[in-house]
């Protein structure tokens, strides 16, 4: 059995969500190849070569792969597929975009967002926004999977680097073209990997309150900032702060939900967090049903108190 892992990277470095995918691949058992398709991506390839368990890096470097456009990347992976029993990618925005297209080119049914592997053909995945889990079995090969990064540990580094093999590019499909990218800049830890996440909801009331009340707390805790859809839709914070069924899936050691009611679609993105704290003035808010520690009260009073308490006991 040989397994292909499609790496997510920005040409300079590997995205951390690629690491749990290697862990998932190791659970399948077999030799693991990792594909780095990019442009001037030698640094990302060198980094990938250091991931424990990766046997070989396939490095395909050409301008047409610079932005990870699905049409070209899917074409390339489909051309490599004959060698593999499984093809895996992270269930990130990147993986969700490209992997089903690969599956269709190969006439295969993808299994999305797996959270557990039972054997080489059976997998568990959340459905209904995580309100149920289905365990499925598939007998065709290659098996095409996207892996929920928070459900598997990150793979450690290995001392000896895997071999890097250069691959020629496939043809340019010329179906889509990259125009621009606008990334949110932040000095805080990345939402998807942060050990502590503090999220605000509609209860925050404004973008200024995010800045004045949540940011200082995030700074004292070294936390990333997240948000509910209501807070994003109201324009308090950018889109990519959204946690939930349609936003990011996070599972930090500590998740603090402030002024968030706890709709199932929000819970879908954070209920695997190790410790959940909820701060809400409504003692019947559903968020309290999954919170390890609940604090009932007005956030405008409680957040400054919380900050003071943190500073005092530091």
């Amino acid at each position: 059995m040989r397994i292909l892992v499609i790496a997510e990277h920005d040409n300079k470095s590997l995205k951390s969500c690629s690491l749990p995918v290697v862990t998932a691949a190791s659970e399948l058992g077999g030799e693991i190849d990792m594909l780095i398709a990019g442009h001037n991506a030698a640094d990302a390839a060198a980094q990938a070569a250091k991931i424990s368990g990766v046997k070989r890096i396939l490095h395909c470097d050409a301008p047409l792969y610079e932005r990870g456009l699905a049409e070209n990347l899917a074409q390339l992976v489909a051309s490599l597929s004959a060698d593999y029993s499984h093809i895996l990618a992270p269930a990130s925005f990147f993986g969700k975009n490209v992997t089903p297209r690969i599956a269709a080119l190969l006439d295969r049914q993808q299994i999305s967002d797996i959270t557990a592997i039972h054997d080489a053909k059976s997998f568990t995945r959340p459905i209904y926004a995580g309100n149920a889990f289905e365990t499925v079995e598939i007998s065709e090969t290659p098996v095409i999977l996207t892996v929920r990064p928070t459900a598997f540990d990150a793979t450690p580094e290995q001392a000896e680097s895997a071999a890097i093999t250069a691959l020629p590019p496939a043809e340019d499909t010329d179906l889509s073209a990259f125009v621009s990218r606008a990334l949110t800049k932040s000095d805080r830890p990345d939402l998807a990997n942060a050990a502590i996440v503090i999220s605000g909801g509609r209860g925050l009331g404004s973008g200024e309150n995010f800045k004045d009340l949540l940011e200082p707390l995030a700074d004292s805790l070294g936390a990333a900032i997240g948000a509910s859809r209501a807070a994003v839709d109201a324009g308090y914070v950018p889109n990519d702060y959204q946690v939930g069924q349609t936003g990011k899936i996070v599972a930090p050691n500590l998740y603090i939900a402030v002024g968030i009611s706890g709709a199932v679609q929000h819970l879908a993105g954070m209920k695997d967090s190790k410790i959940i704290v909820a701060i809400n003035k409504d003692e019947d808010a559903p968020i309290f049903q999954i919170a390890d520690y609940g604090l009932v009260g007005d956030l405008f009073q409680l957040l400054p108190e919380l900050r003071a308490a943190l500073d005092n006991s530091a």
Binding site: K15, L254, L295
Partner: protein, 249 residues
């Protein structure tokens, strides 16, 4: 240009989901069904393009059982021109649905297909990308804005960490994210009018598509329970718990 909008009928987003005791699925008897929210957004976008003179016709299509026509009527009431029901009682997996949609897109010579990015029951997030692959068309998933100009679509899409803009050759596939638009409510007169709009029926055999499931569902289970939490009295008490008991900060 014709725009095709595939929609799915799903258990309403605000229904509490319960797993059946025999683990064969979730309770779906007598629960409220709705058009998948992302599909409503796709329908809305198509109607707006037609209203702006960028499209000539909006066709909604859904594969499912006979009751699915109710969802198609809901889309017609929003303003779609006609509907196609691919009627079947079979379990349909995304690859099979994409194949059915490919047959319809070709038959109708659609210039653009707008889907929802994800169905909120299966949470697959596959069908649009698969359809794009099968048709050999360009794709822009998770769209938060869309403009059509000179045989190309310019699409801003939500990605990890921000937004990305792509330019696609038409025909193309777009999948709608939540922020693309706010779907309108159908007015009572439009609900009445929708009853007269054409709704054609097809089936997988007529389209020459084999929809045999590729994976088997072994069981459906409840999510692992979280152990019940406690209420704390004050911010200071919370910090003490986090440091002392949970040892997390």
């Amino acid at each position: 240009m014709k725009i095709l909008v595939p929609i799915k009928r799903v258990i309403d987003a605000y229904v509490t989901i319960r797993v059946k005791a025999d683990q064969t699925g979730v309770e779906n008897a007598n629960v409220k069904m709705s058009v998948n929210p992302f599909c409503e957004i796709a329908v809305e976008e198509a109607i707006r393009l037609k209203e702006a003179g960028k499209a000539t016709e909006v066709i909604v299509v859904s594969a499912g059982n006979a009751a699915t026509q109710e969802s198609l009527r809901a889309a017609l009431a929003m303003g779609a021109d006609r509907a196609i029901l691919i009627e079947t009682d079979q379990e349909l997996q995304p690859l099979a649905i994409a194949k059915l949609l490919k047959a319809v897109a070709e038959k109708e010579q659609a210039g653009l297909v707008i889907l929802g990015k994800q169905s909120i029951d299966g949470d697959h997030n596959q069908t649009g990308q698969m359809l794009a692959g099968l048709l050999g068309w360009g794709q822009a998933t998770f769209a938060s804005s869309l403009t059509l100009e000179n045989d190309r679509a310019t699409v801003t899409r939500e990605i990890d960490g921000g937004l990305e803009t792509l330019s696609l050759k038409l025909p193309a596939i777009i999948t709608a994210d939540l922020r693309l638009n706010e779907p309108r409510y159908a007015s009572l007169p439009n609900i009445m009018k929708a009853k007269q709009k054409p709704l054609d029926r097809l089936n997988p055999d007529a389209l020459g598509v084999d929809v045999t499931p590729r994976y088997k569902t072994l069981r459906v289970s409840e999510p692992p329970p979280r152990k019940p939490g406690v209420k704390v009295e004050s911010a200071a008490a919370l910090v003490e718990k986090l440091r002392g008991e949970a040892k997390i900060i």
